[in-house]
Symmetry: D3
């Protein structure tokens, strides 16, 4: 159920306090020489569609722009300021509450710490400003992906690495342009850097060469299942 | 050419000072009992796709959230604060300049005055902050639509009215749920209203009953042609 | 009744929920080689004085600084940032409500779109923040002037043109320094410009050469009558 | 020379780096049962007019709205937020610099500490942002008035007291409505108060009963002389 | 009773509406060639410790960073922006109210006008935002020091002068590195300066050569006594 | 070398581009029934003192106030808004650069994700705003503590748990009030909570009962050694 395809009359009739809204978030960000800039959009859009089908949830239009830190100086990356992202999420969450939603999920395909903090701050503000009993889940699908224990994942895989490449191979194989060298950037620990891109000039952190469509399909299934579970638990809480 | 489908390497190779970037903007906003909330997204996405094909322009991911004034209290509308929208557009424009674009077009399907002012302020700031010779076009497709003289348009047509209904019938007929009563809200002139929705409870301002797919198709063609012309003139300027 | 000439005791005794407050706004802005920088102040001050006399309204001190876009790079123009103007109007409106006013009129001699949007946003915020039944009218006298059908006005008249010149000739003839060439700037449509002044180096858009004191007097009478009507209707609403 | 009465052509011709701009500031604020709300506007407007005549300075339009602390809850007071005032002054100063002024004077009839700090912060920012050698004087005429040693002033005179009443009697006797009881509010020292008005319900701090037109005239002469001196010294500096 | 040494259980048990919280504030700021950068911290920390002992008050951790104006360009000074300081104090005061305090004292060792205004604005906001009957005292120990009439103080003593030097000699003699020339900077009156440091290159305004440990001890006793009195009066108010 | 104990002359003589500045940060935050509110201050102050001795670094005054999320509703916690902390760190870092430092370390005893993100954003801004080659290290001592492999640490130890209790037992045993029950809060994964405190009412997450002074001493030594190494590497970079 894509909210954007509904009319205002349908919204009025169908949205109530038991409804679930899911907001997918992405980023336009370099993902190596082989993956599209929208890699972080493709994954949550796919996941959210499947999750919403199983739960009868309402899917919000994806916000494809996010906040990027280490990739900010690469060509193709379009980063938002922290405050822009935070305000944007505040506004959307606030309107969802006005519309009647009490169960809200934000799933971000981009998992940068700063980006995720912006989402969390927005969420905390909305909870503070409302007395209603709002249940709010904010996570990245990579919060799940990096803790999958059903399948083996490379130790230091990350941005544009084995998992991301595999998942895009499974969802949008037409957008994968070959592969890329594996790469493990040697960031000086805890330093704030003006030019982080100098530590991974190909834009890759991880093992894209280990990627496979099969792995991607398995990962997607696991993530979808896990997210369905998380949402079901959230909805049942205090029920 | 959807920018989001490209890799960073492709961006680096293909984007130069002659390239044109087009950013489509929409809104999630009630559009009467018969049109989808994404009415203002569907139109510019369609237009921009056609325009970009003809010009070889790069299409940015659409931002589907906009600023809504008179419809803000209806179910389904998701309005951004003025400042959120302004900052968002500042960020995206700023990144386009960083990426190398010097010809930039923002086409908004939503034409609210306040919304358009946010875009313009963002644009002015970006021009002020850069010494480069940036050409920037910001308009709504309704800036064109309301001045089409090739076809006859009803005198007081507006939000969710004859033109909008016709255009959605032409682009996404599957999303049109019947029709709606024509309606001409009697706003008290120049008053700022806490509850503008009381003046048009069906969410319609105009003549949806006069809509037709044929009209929509003609309108779309005119808008596309006109926009191509406008962009071509902009690019040629000072050439 | 100039509010500024009253004592606090008089305010306390005379202001009640039936009172009307009128805030005139202007701009310090180039108006061609022949009109004073305060052209946008002189007109609303004159109008408001006459209107207030007829309605027994309270006149607030004029704010002579406004937000200017296309004239911002000319000598003499003093433009405020959008946010400065918005906050200023928020503050004044908020204090008027605290003082007991429930009928408030803002009349701006400057009619720039961005300027007017700042006023409107301020007004919307004040309505949102108060539960009281506040009636708020925000307009430019040029919202009226450009729609006068009692007298003939040139088709493309505008900034520092026939109407403005005529009105200043009627109100402050001593400040009119001759006349100016008619001029119709050829702005590239919908482009945001870093240097709009290059398109009208004399600072004129319109037909100052057609101006006459008689026209100005007639226009002023019409505007005053029309504004009185608008305010009377506003006050009567729900009565 | 009122800047607002000039045309843009006159500004261009007459303003250069030796020119002096004077910006008068006031407040709309209760001044007891006997003085008008614009008491803090009347005084600097008068002073600035005389000073400008003697120095050939350019006078900016007065800003009649200021920031009020202890009088904020009285009827008639219209206070700005600190940030609104600060931004307003930043904008005006910034535009004066753009226009070519290098000698700028801000004279505030309102002397509240918080109000004056807003002006000073604005001034510091403008100096920081410009490399030009800008000379900037920011003061209240009460910075001078309370240190006049040519004439005897009551020890604890203040807001709406002997000096203010006398000066208004000298400048605008028609606006003085009788007199008021002398009053010395007993504020608890250094406490921040939610309701400072409870300590001086008549709005007076000082000795209005000692006021006289003669004293007011003398005070005005002294203040004007002193300000002329201060500005002359400023202009000569480093000459 | 240092709040920071307590556990949350102790806070819960001991803090109630009769409790007094004292927040000491300082600055890291040049204080001539002979006094440490923390001069403005040492004094209020000492005073607050003694005052708290006598009143059974709770002492908050000192904030050692403040806002500096005239010393901002010297080596060693670390100045905060006005807004940073204001927000910081808002946050701390707001949390003290949440914790249950209704009697709050802010004692600043730094007495700059702009710095003190930031504190006052923060205090006013907190009072406005809470309905509780909060008693709030905000002052600098130099508000007391410059009005001591029990002991003779030099006429134009100030920053890093006789009083400050004496007090540090009394509290932390180990940190006093000799003495400094007396100096009375000749600031051009009321001018806002980009480089105030040029008027007192040694960083001293006053008479450090007249300083003595004995004077410092006496001054400290007076300040402590006076502050105890002020707080006792505040607490008793309306009792 | 405590910067605050130095005079401006000493700063000028001793600080150069090879100098290292270390800024310790803490928080005032509940730490169970047994640890003081300043637990997050005590640890970094101790560490920084030892590290600075070994490196000849300059120690900045600690900022004892930080941003707290999950503990924000407990008695005793004093949390800053995200923006307050971010601005504070921006200001201090900016002043350190002005003072001549090019090697800067921020060590936070509080390790909350949101808190750490504020520090990082501040750091990124400072790097962006300066062309100088500034080396900047921002970390929590718990970034080190949770990865010590020289000694065994409990699996789910955290806030006010075994490590924190042990370290305070080693540094300030006088402030440890007995011990507390071990506790592993069962937060619903990824939910943003209005009342996180309901999941750990004693304020403990971890195993305080396993704490020992010996462990604390060992941990402190490891952390100090590791931090010295990190800083030495940073300073040597590009040397």
């Amino acid at each position: 159920m894509l909210l954007e395809n509904m009319t205002m009359v349908e919204v009025k009739e169908k949205v109530n306090e038991n409804s679930i809204a899911i907001l997918p978030l992405g980023a336009i960000e370099e993902h190596g020489p082989h993956l599209p800039l929208s890699t972080d959009c493709i994954q949550p859009e796919y996941v959210v569609e499947k999750v919403a089908e199983r739960l009868g949830a309402f899917v919000l239009p994806i916000l494809k722009y996010g906040q990027c830190s280490s990739t900010k100086n690469f060509p193709g990356t379009i980063t938002l300021r922290f405050d822009t992202l935070r305000m944007m999420i505040e506004d959307i969450l606030s309107e969802l509450v006005r519309m009647g939603f009490r169960n809200i999920v934000v799933l971000s395909g981009h998992a940068g710490r700063t980006h995720m903090t912006a989402l969390k701050l927005a969420g905390e503000l909305i909870l503070e400003e409302h007395d209603e009993d709002i249940k709010l889940l904010i996570l990245s699908d990579y919060d799940i992906a990096y803790t999958m224990n059903e399948i083996e994942i490379p130790v230091n895989d990350g941005h544009a690495g084995m998992i991301e490449t595999s998942r895009i191979m499974a969802i949008r194989p037409d957008l994968v342009k070959g592969t890329a060298e594996s790469n493990h950037p040697n960031f000086p620990p805890f330093m704030v850097l003006k030019h982080p891109e100098r530590y991974f000039p190909t834009g890759v952190m991880g093992e894209p060469q280990l990627a496979s469509k099969e792995f991607g399909e398995k990962a997607n299934v696991i993530i979808i299942d896990r997210l369905v579970e998380l949402i079901e638990k959230m909805v049942e809480k205090n029920a």
